[in-house]
Symmetry: C2
Subunit: 383 residues, 2 copies
DNA sequence: CTGTTAGCGCCTTCAT
DNA sequence: ATGAAGGCGCTAACAG
């Protein structure tokens, strides 16, 4: 009788996929019947009839264990779906195999590409990645560091929001002076001696500016943001290129934002353009600012490059398909992320070996000027 | 004599900023002199002359402590720069205040925007975020889950790469059936009963397709990728719109990739266009595919929308400034991330209370069709 | 109000 | 080859 009903149900199940739901409920029930608490080495030991130490040896792969014991243990491990508790391991080993990443905002493709590379490289080398955003706020940054520190991460990769002239109080110093292996990315600080992996911002800006000058532009507006070494170096490169071509840099052509957001890009573009009708070119110093700049230019119905020449920074996939394709300074985000991670893990390991740290202070990659179609020779002045 | 030299150094320091480096070295030295090992409650207790329990009470803010003892402890805490060891806390509490996030690839803006919102919401509620990429590979996904599980995370937010027809083996079930509070995002699975937060993909695709049909298009190519519920639902919406307007969906107009990359977008666009000269519109189902599609269209020197009408999916900031601005189906990534996180934390807490889980199975947000200028009425047929 | 103490799960030395 | 036991840093129940 019962088997008959089972059969009936089976055939109905076949016919009506919706009844598949029955299986769902079965699966759901499992959750309650399965003992909810974590399987530990102790459980394995009891069930396999050996000591905890033996189980530890099998799982950790050290010491010597009879093959019979080993077999028994492994069988039970599988049966009980045992997964070691990393927290307890960390407690013992004093390392968590975790690295912390602190950036301005993951929503910014520049950072998310870097973090992507960090995660990939970390995973390859056995490290997990914890992220936190600072929103470019030094207070938040300190909070992040405190949290990460309390979580006993093995190392940190950070694009710091601190400014080059920051003076740290005693409490903060702990987090910024090698109490944990640290690699800085993108932004350097003169008073810290940790490794920094970054792009040659100075020369990148220099090349782009020179390119514009050589096309005949003299009045070049520049839009920057975030009060960091990165932006300052770019501004310096820009000024240097101007001076080397006997053009006096003018402060009124320079706009410097707080957070380098799209909104700031919009605002600065319209301000610059409205206040300085003599500008023939604009240079925006990161992807968000470029986006904002383009929005405003679109709204003002200016056409690129006939009305205005444009150079951006941070290549994004779309720069090539925007119309016209944008001339851009590019940096290799993947490389920054990958190298920073590799170096950080080297430093972490060298600490274990009691050998000394790397000694490297800066790893600098080239910025590349990708010339597309957003710049034109300077137009004849309309008197 | 000595003060004289100090003075001299000071004046030189002022004159030559480079000598600021002297301070760097001082700071660096600190690292070695400072005891490197972690300050613990024990240290505080000893130095403050009280018991560990009292220190615990002060720091944890429970029980009652004399204000004198409290003061002493707080003073030492500050002096020694004590930061609690979360690992040890987690060991005791059985919770890590950490949530794991598993997505395809952080490099994809869709995911990085979601993760950004998750991090922000998590931080607000006291949770740290661990990320891992699956590269849309189910095997990697299982590895990620295993790692996260071993790290004792309190909950998971996952955009699973599993396919709707996946059958899980016994070992995997553990990770996919509520052994940890889980919220799925973007992709649902019929055989799991956890909460899923996602966009109404079906209706989004339906609306976009209908929009094209109403402009007179009958032959609409569609480019999808990743074998997930998400993409399937979009295809279904597309087909449904066609059928409701008495147009028979044609398989040759549908291309389905593996990873929904820019490269796949390029390839499928040129294949579709070359094999089907009768296509008058193209619909690409995520940001990467849109980008690839635009690249190819640009290379083929086709102009939008006069040669070809275009609808994309996943609004990105640049869609509005591309020329012409792109008509797009949009989903609210921030909302998905925020709500998923809030709900997850609710579930985590409801588990503590022994009260039951939420009972919600789906939270679905609208997809919005943003009409810009990349679609035109269907051209008169040649011949 | 305060101190003592027993674990959390794992690793590892020491003894057998 | 194996088992017993101590301890990582913190919490909290219990005893004073």
């Amino acid at each position: 009788m019962r088997s008959c009903i089972e059969k009936l149900i089976q055939s109905i199940e076949k016919a009506l996929p919706i009844l598949y739901l029955r299986k769902v409920f079965r699966m759901g029930d499992m959750r309650n019947t399965e003992s909810n608490k974590q399987v530990t080495i102790k459980d394995i030991a009891k069930k396999a009839g050996v000591s905890q130490a033996t189980v530890g040896r099998v799982i950790g792969g050290y010491g010597s264990v009879s093959s019979k014991a080993k077999e028994k243990v492994l069988k039970v491990v599988k049966e009980l779906n045992y997964v070691p508790n990393s927290i307890a391991q960390s407690m013992k080993n004093k390392r968590t195999k975790t690295i912390g990443v602190v950036v301005g905002k993951l929503g910014n493709p520049f950072f998310s590409e870097i973090v992507n590379a960090i995660e990939a490289t970390g995973a390859k080398l056995g490290y997990t990645v914890v992220i936190s955003n600072t929103d470019e706020d030094p207070k938040k940054e300190l909070e992040c560091l405190r949290t990460l520190y309390s979580k006993q991460i093995d190392g940190i990769i950070i694009a710091t929001t601190l400014r080059p002239d920051t003076v740290l109080d005693a409490a903060s110093k702990k987090f910024y002076s090698g109490s944990i292996p640290t690699v800085y990315i993108d932004r350097e600080l003169p008073f810290l001696q940790e490794l920094c992996v970054l792009t040659d911002n100075y020369f990148g800006a220099y090349k782009a500016t020179e390119y514009l000058i050589e096309m005949g532009h003299r009045n070049i507006g520049i839009i920057a943001g975030t009060n960091t070494s990165t932006m300052h170096r770019r501004i310096e490169g820009y000024k240097r290129a101007l001076m080397e071509h006997n053009i006096e840099p003018q402060e009124k052509f320079i706009r410097f934002g707080e957070k380098a957001t799209v909104e700031e890009g919009r605002q600065f573009t319209s301000e610059l353009l409205n206040n300085n009708p003599d500008l023939t070119a604009l240079f925006a110093l990161n992807n968000q600012l470029v986006t904002g700049m383009l929005k405003t230019i679109n709204e003002m119905k200016l056409s690129i490059p006939s009305d205005l020449s444009i150079v951006g920074w941070d290549d994004f996939e779309l720069a090539q398909i925007v119309n016209p394709p944008l001339t851009m300074v590019t940096q290799d985000t993947e490389k920054i992320g990958t190298v920073a991670t590799e170096k950080l893990i080297e430093i972490i390991n060298s600490k274990d070996d009691e050998s000394n740290a790397l000694g490297e202070r800066r790893i600098v990659f080239n910025a590349h000027l990708i010339i597309r179609e957003s710049c034109a020779d300077r137009q004849v002045e309309l008197i």
